[in-house]
């Protein structure tokens, strides 16, 4: 029986005082599961994801990731927790001044791996995301699809326990989308990584079983 890796109880999230984005929501996500969070625009999908990686602290309720409470978490503890997360952002969030290789290496460097391990792992991942030969390019020299694939490689680099993806294929071409979904499925199936994806639409050709949460008017509903 898999353990719950994300636990939320009476979760309350807000940006402005007394203007809740998420309220009184209780749910849990099991370790090794593939989860979709959907809902209309502005429903709070990305806000919920932000709370998972500590960008937004819950105002009320309980939120735990891997047994660590995210309510009023200390920055040192948050930094420690983030080492176990792989985050994919809708706007990629690549470091523009760094090459593709260095961007992918980032979580490995933070985790303290040796240079040779970093180099080998980066080369392997760039091959997976079909970007071999573009190691020394800068993000702005790549297309949107390629940048998202770099972000994907970066998120997978340190074999995270949980992958959090915010609209990972939002503006991508079909080829890049296929690569991204394939890698997310692979991480889930082969490595047992928990994958939480915020999206507008769930891809129809997904091979792995998944859970579906729907957000509407600040409440989270488990659909399947």
């Amino acid at each position: 029986m898999a353990k719950n890796v994300i636990i939320a109880k009476d979760l309350y999230l807000e940006y402005k005082k007394d203007t809740p984005i998420i309220r009184d929501s209780t749910f849990s996500i099991k370790s090794g599961s593939f989860v979709f969070i959907t809902g209309p625009s502005g429903s709070g999908k990305s806000t919920l994801l932000k709370s998972f990686y500590g960008e937004l602290s819950p105002k009320k309720g309980i939120l735990q990731i891997g047994g660590v409470s995210l309510v009023d978490i200390k920055s040192s503890k948050l930094a420690f927790l983030r080492k176990y997360l792989g985050i994919i952002f809708q706007d990629y969030k690549l470091i523009k001044e760094w090459t593709v290789k260095k961007n992918v290496m980032l979580p490995l460097l933070i985790a303290g791996y040796s240079k040779s391990v970093c180099e080998a792992q980066t080369a392997r991942l760039l091959k997976h995301v079909r970007l071999s030969g573009k190691e020394d390019y800068y993000p702005l020299e790549l297309s949107g699809g390629e940048q998202q694939r770099v972000a994907m490689a970066r998120a997978l680099a340190h074999n995270p326990v949980i992958i959090l993806a915010d609209e990972p294929t939002g503006n991508l071409d079909e080829y890049s989308s296929r690569v991204i979904w394939g890698l997310l499925e692979g991480a889930n199936e082969q490595l047992g990584t928990t994958v939480v994806v915020v999206t507008h639409s769930i891809p129809s050709n997904l091979k792995v079983p998944y859970k579906h949460f729907y957000i509407e008017e600040g409440k989270i509903y488990e659909i399947s």
Partner: protein, 270 residues
């Protein structure tokens, strides 16, 4: 090219601050040099009816550097030259003793009055001549120079603060996004700021070295003496080396303060 730009954008303000500071240090040293020279040239004449010793005088004023008895024949010579008809051999027996007192530092006008009063309390001292008018003129000029250099330091300080804040803004724009993304992946503070710390150390070193090299050239070529209109500055190469270490330390404090502010001012979202 970008890296060079990054270095230059820090080196220029740091160099400006350190160059101006070193200028202040040099002017301050030159003033002190002239002050000590003046104190050597300046002396007080004391007339006493008994023999005085320096140990006895230092009990009243520890700042006394030397006490020298003046030859009374010089006084006799002057009187002879003025044509006064007296028995000079007899007069010699009645003449009091004249002493020249030098001080360790150039005294302020106020201190000079206090010193005069103290000396008059010494047993046997009948008269103290401090040449107040001449002293007052020199002292006021020295005070003016000191105040000018202090004002200069204040201007440097204000300008430095402005330059520091400007640099913080530049660094904030250049590095906050990178530092924020690194934080999202759990990078500790030292790792997020490592690049800026490295930049600070290298650029402070370059700036201090440049300031040292320039002043070394200005002093050795005599250009600075010519510019200030003085014969000597009282600043040696070892003084400049010592200053360079201070400037490096100060420059490092300034640039690390920038790093600290930039790391604190990281945005919540980019």
């Amino acid at each position: 090219m970008k890296s060079l730009k990054n270095h230059i954008s820090l080196i220029i303000p740091l160099f400006a601050i350190l160059f101006a500071l070193e200028f202040y240090f040099i002017v301050d040293k030159a003033i002190h040099y002239y002050e000590s020279k003046l104190s050597k040239d300046y002396s007080i004449i004391v007339v006493a009816n008994k023999k005085l010793s320096i140990e006895e005088m230092r009990v009243y004023e520890p700042d006394i550097a030397s006490l020298q008895e003046l030859d009374s024949s010089l006084v006799i010579k002057r009187l002879k030259a003025s044509g006064i008809e007296v028995d000079y051999n007899e007069l010699r027996n009645f003449l009091p003793k004249f002493y020249k007192i030098s001080l360790r530092s150039f005294p302020s006008s106020q201190k000079l009055i206090q010193l005069r009063n103290k000396l008059l309390k010494v047993e046997g001292i009948k008269r103290v001549e401090t040449f107040t008018k001449v002293h007052e003129k020199i002292y006021r000029f020295l005070l003016f120079l000191k105040n000018i250099s202090k004002l200069f330091l204040m201007i440097i300080f204000v300008t430095s603060i402005m330059l520091v804040f400007k640099q913080i803004e530049i660094w904030n724009l250049e590095h906050s996004e990178r530092m924020y993304i690194m934080a999202l992946f759990g990078a500790p503070l030292w790792m997020r700021t490592a690049m800026l710390i490295k930049l600070s150390v290298i650029d402070t070193f370059i700036s201090s070295l440049l300031v040292y090299a320039l002043y070394s050239y200005f002093i050795n070529s005599g250009y600075l003496m010519e510019l200030l209109g003085v014969e000597q500055l009282g600043v040696s190469t070892s003084d400049l080396i010592k200053d360079a270490f201070w400037l490096f330390a100060l420059g490092l404090v300034i640039s690390l303060f920038n790093v600290l502010v930039v790391s604190i001012r990281q945005p919540k979202t980019v």
